[in-house]
């Protein structure tokens, strides 16, 4: 479904990503984990095109994503939904309008169709009653669930999550992870950058461990957590789990 080949990305002197190769199959849930600054968020953003790679290719369903062909590139990007660490809900729009704007202006749906889809998805994340609320009246967990619903409104085939729970108060993390898990069990292809090791272990099919801009190790999640191969992964896991 997604294939990343020899991806390089630098920010000035800093080499954020170095020769990344990654494949994600349809229906697969892949968690990108690693220490801060390891490049996992940058990789996630590169896949969607929020960051432009310096070199390397990204393929979506076997076709190369090429920004120099804007029309095709835009169509490809529409197949991916993106969820941000800081939600990025449109602050001047209600929950419902957040979910409708792209549907009416991009997907060309009528207001009625857009509203119906939006309400179905808001119900799915448990927030149908918040339809007329503005984002600043919502808790962090609610904002992120709205953000997920908003992305789903565009009917993506792949969902990319960039640290979706890192900005949340601890007691709100679970409600967001539950929504994501539900999405995964329904067959959505997902790439999740996360620090939630419990989620990675239980929900992900595969864990990709990055450090210093490189993929150090990747393995089925249970195998990765119970028996990491590389020293760096062992070191990382010993630091994140408090025994």
């Amino acid at each position: 479904m997604i294939k990343v080949e020899h991806l390089h990305k630098s920010f000035g002197e800093l080499k954020a990503l170095h020769d990344i190769n990654l494949e994600v199959k349809e229906g697969e849930i892949v968690c990108l984990i690693g220490p801060s600054g390891s490049g996992k968020s940058t990789l996630c953003r590169c896949i969607h095109g929020l960051e432009k790679p310096d070199s390397g290719d990204i393929y979506l369903e076997g076709e190369r994503m090429d920004p120099s062909q804007p029309a095709k590139y835009a169509e490809q990007r529409k197949k991916m939904g993106f969820v941000f660490q800081h939600f990025n809900l449109f602050t001047n729009k209600t929950v419902l309008d957040n979910c409708m704007l792209a549907q009416t202006s991009v997907a060309g749906k009528t207001k009625e169709e857009a509203e119906q889809t939006a309400m179905e998805l808001l119900a799915r994340v448990g927030l149908a009653d918040k339809r007329d609320a503005y984002p600043n009246k919502l808790s962090g967990g609610q904002k992120q669930r709205v953000a997920i619903a908003r992305a789903l409104c565009m009917n993506p085939e792949i969902m990319l999550f960039d640290e979706p729970t890192s900005a949340l108060d601890p007691e709100m993390i679970k409600e967001v992870l539950e929504v994501m898990k539900d999405l995964g069990t329904n067959g959505m292809t997902m790439v999740v950058v996360t620090h939630e090791m419990g989620f990675a272990r239980k929900v992900a099919d595969r864990v990709v461990f990055l450090d210093g801009g490189e993929i150090v190790e990747q393995a089925p999640s249970e195998q990765f957590f119970s028996n990491p191969q590389s020293e760096r992964a062992k070191d990382f896991l010993s630091k994140v789990f408090y025994d």
């Binding site: 969607h48 990007r77 939904g81 939600f87 602050t91 001047n92 792209a102």
Partner: protein, 223 residues
Amino acid sequence: MADIFTSDNLIFMLKGAGVSLLLALGAVVIGCVIGILFAAAKLSKSKLLRAIGTVYVEIFRGTPMLLQVLFFYLGVPVLYQRITGTRMSADPYMVGLIALSCNSGAYQTELIRSGIQAVDKGQWEAGETLGISYPVMMKEIILPQAFKHIIPPLVSEFITLIKDSSLISNIGALELLYSAQVLGKRYYDYLDPLILAGVMYLCMTVLTSYLSRKVERRMTLSD
């Protein structure tokens, strides 16, 4: 002295004040449209558009407003005649409105640009990931949020325009200051009409800032 304050004269002055207010209102609205366009130009990726925006702002902020008014009223008709060979008569009100709008447009360009840049980058990124086009993003998300930040400086721009509209008196538009001068000339008494004009300017500006404070308070409540 007292016989200057007849009801006819008062109405004459109030009409002048109305013209001043209308000119300022028109200029702030047209200037806002100009400001949005040139702010978008200054923030665009195209070097040419950015250069056009910068040149526009520098010219209108860097020369005296009175010069601009006179240029549009006295200079442009000459230019027109040189190019087309036919005469053109300039209406002082229309010319005044154009000059005020162009000048205000330059100041509002900078205001709106800073307002747009103050909007969280995440809003743009969210729009990008949803595939929302630049014009829709601007109209629906970015500008409404930008304007919330820049309402106070926009109000002071409007107050400046109320006062600066007095420059149009130089080209014979019967706005508030020129009305005062007309009365002064008629009665050989400039003191009273000028004081009255000053009071009327003050009423307009003080009332404007009072209203804007109310609006602002309501907006922070809804935030």
